[in-house]
Symmetry: C2
Amino acid sequence: MPTSDKHLSLKRLAIDTYKENVAYLHRECALYRTEGFQALAKLEVRNGKRKILAVLNVVDDDAIVGTDEIGLSEQAFAQLGQKEGTQVAIAHAEPPASMDAVRRKLRGERLSAEDYNAITQDIADNRYSKVEMAAFVVTSGQTGLDRDEILYLTHAMAATGERATWEEPLVADKHCIGGIPGNRTSMIVVPIVAAHGLLIPKTSSRAITSPAGTADTMEVLAKVEIGPKRIREIVHALRGCMVWGGTAKLAPVDDILISVERPLGMDSLGQMVASILSKKIAAGSTHLLVDIPVGPSAKVRQMREALQLRKLFEYVGDRSGLHIEVIITDGRQPIGRGIGPVLEARDVLQVLGNDPDAPNDLRQKALRLAGRVIEFDPDVRGGEGYTIARDILDSGRAMAKLNAIIDRQGRQTRTIPPGSLSFEITAGRDGVVTAIHNQLMAHIARLAGAPMDKGAGVDLMKKLGDPVAKGDVLYRVHAEFPPDLQFARDQSRRNCGYTIGKPEDIPPYSFGL
Amino acid sequence: MPTSDKHLSLKRLAIDTYKENVAYLHRECALYRTEGFQALAKLEVRNGKRKILAVLNVVDDDAIVGTDEIGLSEQAFAQLGQKEGTQVAIAHAEPPASMDAVRRKLRGERLSAEDYNAITQDIADNRYSKVEMAAFVVTSGQTGLDRDEILYLTHAMAATGERATWEEPLVADKHCIGGIPGNRTSMIVVPIVAAHGLLIPKTSSRAITSPAGTADTMEVLAKVEIGPKRIREIVHALRGCMVWGGTAKLAPVDDILISVERPLGMDSLGQMVASILSKKIAAGSTHLLVDIPVGPSAKVRQMREALQLRKLFEYVGDRSGLHIEVIITDGRQPIGRGIGPVLEARDVLQVLGNDPDAPNDLRQKALRLAGRVIEFDPDVRGGEGYTIARDILDSGRAMAKLNAIIDRQGRQTRTIPPGSLSFEITAGRDGVVTAIHNQLMAHIARLAGAPMDKGAGVDLMKKLGDPVAKGDVLYRVHAEFPPDLQFARDQSRRNCGYTIGKPEDIPPYSFGL
C-alpha cells in the first residue's frame, strides 16, 4: 500500500555516471508507485534547501537499493552534499524554464543575452538532460548563431564558473583551434615568452578525441594537476606555467556542452569561438594569439572559412576586453615527428635543446607564434618578435625556463620510453609524399594507445615533399600492448594515411584562397 | 598491470534503464584501463555473433560488478540473450554510419528514402545514443522535413517492426492527434463500428504526458494487455477490440523517438504524421479517420495549421495504400465531464447506456466520428453514417458490443470508485464560462494522480458557455493520496484553468480560419 510519507533514506552508489546525475529507486518503492515516475524521468531530490536534479533508473534488487531508499550516483551524491541515511524528498522535476528559449531558437528566432544567461545557468545547475543539451547544441550549431549570439553565449558561459585575476595589465595566452597532430608549440612558446618577461599562465586540456593534449604531453615531464594557489606561486616566480585546466572550474558549462558536441561530431564555428573565448575570459587573459591551421584534412579546410572565423574571434574579443590576434598557419600535415605524449615531448626537448636533428617545422612554427605573442609587449616594435624569440631559444634561456617550470610543478622521476612494441609502414612505390592525413594519423596513434599509454603513438620519418623510394619507412607505430598494436596495424593496412605522388600534386599552402 | 585478455564475465544487474542500454565496468577492470574507455562512452558487447551496444557507467564497488565482470542493465541483458557468466568481448562502438546523414540534414540537405531507412535501422539496432537521437529529432523538427521526407520516414519506421495482416479488404481505424482531456470517443466509436460490421481492431496507447490514454481508461473495465494471438481471436469473433498497443511491436522506432521528443516538448507536424501513420501502416489498417481538434489550448491552434496537417496526412496516406479521411473538430475545451480513467469510463458508460444525464458533447462527437468511419463501408451512402451510428447507439447494440468485448478481453472484477479525497473549485464571480484550458486541466488531473491512480482526476461541472453565479462549483478534483490532492490544489489556486466572462468573449469554433 503506498504511503503518503514523501521521504526516502539517502544511499551513495559507487557508480560513476560522468557528467550526468542518476538516481536509483526500487521498483517496489512506495514513492515510485504513487508518483507515477517513469524510468529516465527527471527527478528533483531535496533535503532542506539543498537540491539536485537526476535521471531516474529503476532497480529490482534490494542489494542495490531498498524500497525505502534512494541511491545516487557518485557525482549526484557529491553534489547533494548530504550524509548517507539522510531523509530526502523527491518530486518530478519541472523542465528547465530556459527550454522555452531553446524552442524559440528551434523556430528560427534569435535569442537575447538574457536567454543565453538563463540557458547556461540552467545547464550549470544540472537542470538540462543530455537530450535537452543536444537540442540546444544542434539548434545553435552550424550557421545557427549570428555574431551577437556568439558574443552573448561567450559571456554567459564565462559567467558560470570561477574567474581568475592576475593583477597585471598584460596577461598573454596562445590557443590553437586543434586538429593537427603533434602540434605541441605551447611547450616551446610558453618558456620563450616567459623568459622574455611577459606573464603567460598557460592552462591546457587533456586529449578528448585527439592522441594528446598539451597537458598529456607536459605530464611526461612534470606534474600538471596543480591547485589554484600553487599555480599562482609558480607564475609569480617564473612568469609562466603549463598546467591542466581541469581543476580551475573555468567556464564549466563549456566542458558540459563539449561532452555533448564531441560525440555528435559537431564543430560549428560559432560554438568553437564561444568555447575558446569563454575559457580565456574566465582565465583572466588580456591578450590572445589564436592559431588557425588550414589544410585539406585540418578542421578548417578553406582559407575563406579561416577568414570568417578570424572575424568572429575579433568581433567577440573586441567586445570582451580581450585583445586578439589571429594567425593562419599551414595545416596540411602533422607538425614535428612524434604523435603521442612521449614522442611529442621528445620533439619539444630537441627544439628547446637546439638539437641539429630537431624537427624544423615545429621550431619555425613555435618561433613564429612566440614572436607574435612577444609583440603584445608594448616595448617591442612590430616585426621584431621573431628575432627576440629566436635569440631566447638559441641562447638556451627557453630550455632553462622550461626546466625551472618543470622543477616548480614537480619533475617526473620516471623516464617513459616509447612503447616497446612497434611496426613500420613503408612506401609502396617511388615518388614524393604529397599528403599526410591529419585525422587518420591521429586515429592510428589513438588506436595504438595514446594518450592513455604515454609511450604509444606514431613517429613520422617522412614529411610532405620528401622524396621516397619503394620500401622506405614512412612512419613507425609504438604501442605498449599487443591488441592495441594490432588495432593500429589493421587501420594502417586499410589506409596508411600517406599519399605518394609527383611534386606537383602537393597542394599549395594557399590552396583554399 | 593491464592484461591483453579481452574477455569479461557477463552479469545481469537488476537496473531498469528503460530504452537505453547501460553496461557497468569496474574502474579497476583491466579492459577499462587498457582501452581508454570513458564513462558514458558507447561500448559494443559481443559474444560470438550476438552483439549489443551500451552506454558505459564506471563502478567503484565490487558488490555491483567485480574487476573481471561486465554488468548489463535489464534491457541490455535481455537483448544480448546470453547467460550470466558467459565470456563476452567489449570494444569501442563506432558511431552509427547513418549519423553522416543526420549531419547532412543538419547542414540543410534533404535526405533520401535510403537515408531514412539507414537511420531508423540503426535506431532499431540501438546504435544511437540519446544524444544522437536528439540531434536527429531536432534537425528534422519544425519545418525541417518536406512531405516526401515525411513519407520516407513513415515507411522507414513502419518497416522496423512487426506488420499485422487481417486478410480482409477493409480494416478501419480512427485516431485523434491528442491534446484534449476527456476525449474518450474510441470507446464509443469502436463498439458502434464493430456492431455495424466493419473490422476495427483498435490498439491504443497508455498516457505518456496526458492524464489518461484510451488503454488506461479501457483498463478500468477490462484487461488490455493481450497477446497477438488472443487479439486475433477476439477480433475474429466480435469485429473489434480495444487493447494496449505496447505488446504488438509495431513501428518500435516510433516509440523510441517519442521518448526523446516528449521531454523536449517537440511536436512538429511532420514527426506527428510519420509517427501516427507508421503505426497504422504496421497495424494493417486500410482506412483511417484522423481527428484534428482545433482550439486556443489544443495542439493545433489555427485552422490554417489544421488544413496544412490534413494535406500532409493525405499525401502520405495516398502513397502508402492507406485511405485517409481527416475530420477537424472543436478543440476549445475538454470533451465530456470526467478527466482521468475512472471518471472517463463513467462518461463512456453513460453515453453507451443512453443515460439522459450523459455528456452530450461526447455523445455527439462520437456519433459524428463513428458515422464517418461507417461511411468507409462501400455499401453506405455518403451522409448516412451518422444516422446508422445513432441507431446502433440508441438501440443498445453498441453497449451490448462493448460488453461482449469486455467479456472476451477479461472483465475487471473490481469496481474502482473515484478517488475518496476531493476538493471543489468555485466561480469567483457571476458570468459565463468563456474558456477551459485543456493543458491546465490535464496537468491538474495528473497532479491528482491520474493515470497511475485510476480514480484520480477532475470532474467538470460547467462547460463552455454555461452561466455561473459566484460560488458555483466549476469542477471537483479527486485523488487517492493527501499529497497528490495538495499538489493539485496548489496548482488550481495558482491558475484554476477556467475563465469567466461575457458570452461574447467565447471564441467562435471557427476562430482560426
